[in-house]
Amino acid sequence: MNTSPITSWEGAEAYFTFADKPALLALFTLIGIGVCVWTIVSMATHENKAYKDM
């Protein structure tokens, strides 16, 4: 997968992967937030089960 926003280092500025595709960056942000929320939900579920099993 070609993720480079540049074809030459001459005059390069933002050069990170997908830098030329802000919609994708926003999507990755949303997915990242989703991962965090999912993990917190999983954490709460684990706690509920642990308390119930005691």
């Binding site: 933002a14 050069y15 990170f16 830098a19 990242g32 917190i40 709460a44 642990a50 005691m54």
Partner: protein, 448 residues
């Protein structure tokens, strides 16, 4: 050999370019190491809180710190840095703040921007510090999930809004009221301390902390030496924290408010503050735990005017803080029945307020670059803003978590120990832990 004027000019341009790059690199290196040093704060909080917990809760307390740290890094990337850039004038969004959005070209490797990443990193460590401040107070009965939600809200939203208002060259508390708080006593310590107070009210005390007649039982942690080492690590990390509070421009140092200063000024007053707080807390408590907490009180007491105080006076300001805060903690616990397991509300919340007020009392009249001179009224008013900004969201969010059952562990889990309930490994599987501190629910601690 004589050189022509164009050749000399070209050489001068080259030298200027090299100097500029050296300055940029020095700046990056400086904040890189400040950030690395700040990690010691979190190592310290980890040790200090695990030591302050009973053995049956040691790992759950530590897990809380680790989780808060891990979640705050992305959370601050997603919203925190943007909040700082967006709200210096209050609640209206500042022009140019889009540079802090996570899909901005500046929020990743960029050959024209040597600043965003390194400042994001330093501020993220400040954010994690606010969560760690709350973390110790709530040990041994808070749910990890509820704590994580609170930590994210405090570290990625609440304190950084306070920083945008009062720890920013264009923050309205400075431009309107002349706030001077170079060491972030207000936005970090006061906000986190009062957020914690709001949480503690809804969370309630640990089982056995108070008797029916209102008297207080001490619940000792299982490893005081580990707590003391942790506190010393926090003090060490504060040198990174306070170094990160100074702006390096190449030809001079400035405060966050663009007033000139020196790293030497911070060195003088940080050390004298540490000593003053330790001696003050020792004088009134004789307790090594409070003596090391006194070191933190000392730093926080002098933090707002680290750049201005005469070191001998910073020592006295911090000594006063070290004497006063343990007594305020006694009042919180004894009179108001607030079970703050490590005294963080007093150390950070009231310590921050004292620091802000002290700067108003003893450093009035110094000019600001933007806004009126430093004044008592400006410092006091700003302290009130930070107290409200911390307390209201902390109380409100913890109340919601309480209502939905995400704030506090069950009574059975609390009595058995949170490690047994939630953690798949044991802190001391082969050691000879005194019966009173084991996971055995039939052997409760004396306080229970």
């Amino acid at each position: 050999m004589e050189q022509s004027v164009p050749e000399l000019m070209a050489r001068l341009d080259s030298l200027e370019s090299s100097l500029s790059m050296a300055t940029t690199i020095n700046s990056e290196v400086f904040y890189w190491w400040c950030t690395a040093l700040m990690l010691a704060i979190h190592a310290g909080f980890l040790a200090y809180e695990m030591g302050a917990s009973r053995a049956k809760n040691a790992l759950a307390s530590g897990m809380k710190n680790l989780i808060a740290f891990a979640f705050l890094i992305p959370a601050f990337y997603y919203v925190g840095w943007w909040i700082y850039l967006a709200f210096p004038s209050g609640f209206s969004i500042a022009e140019g703040s889009e540079a802090g959005l996570p899909w901005s070209e500046f929020m990743g490797p960029n050959l024209t921007d040597n600043a965003s990443g390194i400042f994001y990193a330093a501020f993220t460590l400040f954010a994690a510090t606010t969560a760690s401040i709350m973390s110790g107070s709530v040990i041994e009965r808070i749910r990890i999930s509820g704590f994580t939600i609170l930590a994210i809200f405090l570290g990625a939203v609440v304190w950084i809004l306070g920083a945008s208002w009062g720890w920013h060259p264009d923050g309205w508390l400075t431009t309107e009221w002349g706030l001077h708080d170079v060491g972030a006593a207000g936005c970090v310590h006061t906000v986190a301390g009062f957020f914690t107070l709001g949480v503690l009210i809804n969370l309630g005390p640990r089982i056995g902390r108070f008797n029916a007649d209102g008297t207080v039982n001490n619940i000792d942690g299982h490893n005081m030496p580990m707590s003391l080492i942790g506190l010393m690590l926090i003090v060490m990390g504060f040198f990174g924290f306070l170094g990160g509070c100074i702006i390096y421009t190449g030809d001079m140092w400035t405060t966050i408010y663009n007033t000139p200063t020196t790293l030497s000024a911070f060195a003088f007053n940080t050390l004298m503050g540490v000593a003053g707080g330790m001696i003050g807390a020792y004088l009134v408590t004789r307790d090594p735990f409070w003596m090391m907490s006194g070191a933190l009180i000392g730093v926080i007491s002098s933090a707002p005017a680290l750049d201005l105080y005469y070191p001998g006076f910073a020592f006295l300001v911090s000594f006063a803080g070290g004497c006063i805060m343990p007594k305020l903690n006694d009042i919180l616990v004894g009179k108001f029945k607030i079970d703050d397991a490590v005294g963080a509300v007093a150390v950070h919340g009231f310590g921050g307020v004292w620091g802000l007020i002290a700067a108003g009392l003893f450093a009035s009249g110094y000019p600001n670059v933007a806004g009126p001179d430093i004044s008592f009224v400006g410092q006091l008013s700003s302290a009130v803003v930070f107290m409200i900004l911390g307390f209201v969201p902390g109380y409100a969010l913890s109340y919601v978590l309480k209502v939905v059952g995400l704030l506090r562990v069950t009574e059975k889990a609390e009595l058995a120990g949170l490690d047994k309930a939630e953690v798949p490994v044991s802190a001391y599987p082969e050691s000879s832990v005194p019966a009173a501190f084991t996971n055995d629910p039939t052997s409760p601690t004396p306080a229970e």
